[in-house]
């Protein structure tokens, strides 16, 4: 396990990058849920953790606009593919998903299993 940060250093909406050998892992606090993902987009291997965490337009009828999922969607900085941090890093538009890692809370800190 790699220690990411003390719990109060990773408040909701925050992100930390940790190094695990050659790999970089991004650890996100998504509204109290901790999510760790490999810093590589499954499409063209972009450094996805440099992308913003955003809301998105929810599925809707033509001409209807509904905004939601604020702070839950990681957007790739290259091609704009959207990944759902709260659903296993699934992509909203492609079968490929982010690689995720287990996160544990122990001794007042956030830990990630590489």
């Amino acid at each position: 396990m790699i220690r990411v940060a003390a719990i109060d250093e990773l408040p909701p909406g925050a992100r930390r990058l940790v190094q695990a050998g050659q790999r970089t892992i991004g650890v996100y606090n998504v509204g109290g849920t901790y999510v760790a993902v490999l810093n590589a987009c499954p499409h063209e291997l972009a450094p996805i953790c440099l992308g913003r965490v955003d809301g998105t337009t929810l599925p809707s009828k033509p001409g209807e606009w509904r905004w939601g999922r604020e702070g839950e969607i990681l957007v790739c900085p290259w091609h704009g593919w959207e990944f759902d941090l709260l659903n296993g890093g699934r992509c909203l538009t492609d079968p490929r998903a982010l690689r995720t890692y287990p996160v544990e809370i122990r001794d007042g800190a956030v830990w990630v299993a590489e």
Partner: protein
């Protein structure tokens, strides 16, 4: 030995302040007032058009600084040569012909004087405005023989298709200076160009961007049908960032039509697809990504990809392809042709070191 990679579509951004330095009056005063000619049409790309991570350690966009571009893009990807299709493009379609031509000249001067000396791997596709082809030809005569000028760029947003004889002075000048003409998308709907599609204005960036292929089809068919390559047998016309997979079926349709309609285009002495094979080149990005990867391989067998297709990254735009991502589609000799050697011929680049 490292693989040669020649990137045929890179987008530096010329600094507006530097452009101003090369503008004569009254255009400099106008430019410095903030009136820089026709703006983009204004569709919303939620990702921004430029990659948000393409930023140097000092916070400056990589594409706005020649040293950044050299060290942070050419070096890590091992780019042997890169063809610059410098931004901005929309201004080339601004309705005032003298202003559009002056800005094109100023952008060329910025690139020649501030960028080309920084790195011997840099090459530019020079700007011209198609609004007045005589002025465009004058600009090609002015800088076309400058070392580092490797091509002439035309925006694919246009008021007439590029096979129209109106544009012949541009092709005449390009041929005299042995420069290929590179057409690049993104200005459809801007300035004096027509509507982005033959049926008007799309309702989103997504719809507009997908439909850019219709602009490319229009220009390709026009160039072949109106006899541009019979008039200018030395001309190479590069379809940059137009996609790839639509080419074979459009050429099939042209060939089929030619067999019954040749009488209406008597200068076409052979199949349009044969003329295309000699004179048309395409760049890879945005390479299509069909669910069944074999479909792309099938498509690559439907035209002479080894002769016609050249790698491009489109760096730093949101829909770019890295060399390794695009390159994995091409094997053996085809890969060598696509990643470097066809471009070396088209842009008249030196042989690789050691040859």
């Amino acid at each position: 030995m490292r693989e040669s990679i020649i990137d045929t579509d890179i987008h530096p951004a010329a600094n507006p302040k530097h452009i101003a330095e090369f503008l004569p009056q009254p255009w400099r005063a106008r430019w410095e007032m903030g009136n820089m000619g026709s703006p983009p049409l204004g569709y919303w790309n939620p990702n921004g058009v430029r990659r948000v991570d393409a930023i140097g350690p000092d916070g400056a966009p990589i594409a706005s600084d020649p040293v950044h571009l050299s060290k942070l893009f050419f070096d890590p990807y091992g780019i042997e040569y890169g063809i610059f299709l410098t931004e901005p493009h929309q201004v080339l379609l601004t309705p005032e012909p003298d202003f559009a031509a002056a800005v094109a000249s100023a952008i060329n001067d910025v690139m020649i004087q501030r960028w080309l000396p920084v790195d011997a791997r840099f090459r530019i596709a020079m700007h011209v405005s198609p609004v007045d082809p005589a002025l465009a030809a004058r600009e090609i005569h002015r800088v076309g023989d400058t070392p580092g000028v490797a091509a002439v760029m035309l925006p694919s947003g246009a008021r007439m298709a590029y096979g129209d004889r109106y544009y012949d002075p541009i092709y005449q000048a390009a041929c005299e200076h042995h420069l290929p003409v590179c057409m690049h998308p993104g200005t459809e709907g801007a300035g004096i160009s027509g509507a982005p599609t033959s049926a008007g204005y799309p309702g989103s960036y997504f719809e507009w961007h997908t439909g850019l292929v219709s602009s490319f089809i229009t220009h390709l068919v026009s160039l072949l049908a109106q006899g541009t390559f019979q008039k200018f047998p030395g001309l190479t016309f590069v379809l940059v960032e137009g996609g790839v997979s639509w080419i074979p079926p459009v050429l099939w349709r042209m060939d089929k039509n030619w067999k019954g309609l040749r009488k209406s285009v008597p200068w076409l002495d052979r199949l349009p697809s044969e003329i295309a094979r000699e004179h048309i080149r395409m760049t890879t990005q945005p390479i299509e990504e069909p669910d069944r990867p074999g479909a792309l391989q099938d498509m690559l067998g439907m035209f002479d990809a080894a002769k016609m297709l050249m790698f491009s990254s489109d760096f730093p735009h949101w829909d770019g392809d890295t060399p390794d991502f695009a390159g994995r589609h091409f094997k053996g000799e085809l890969r060598r042709r696509v990643m470097s050697e066809t471009a070396r011929e088209v842009y008249r680049l030196p042989p690789p070191a050691g040859d």
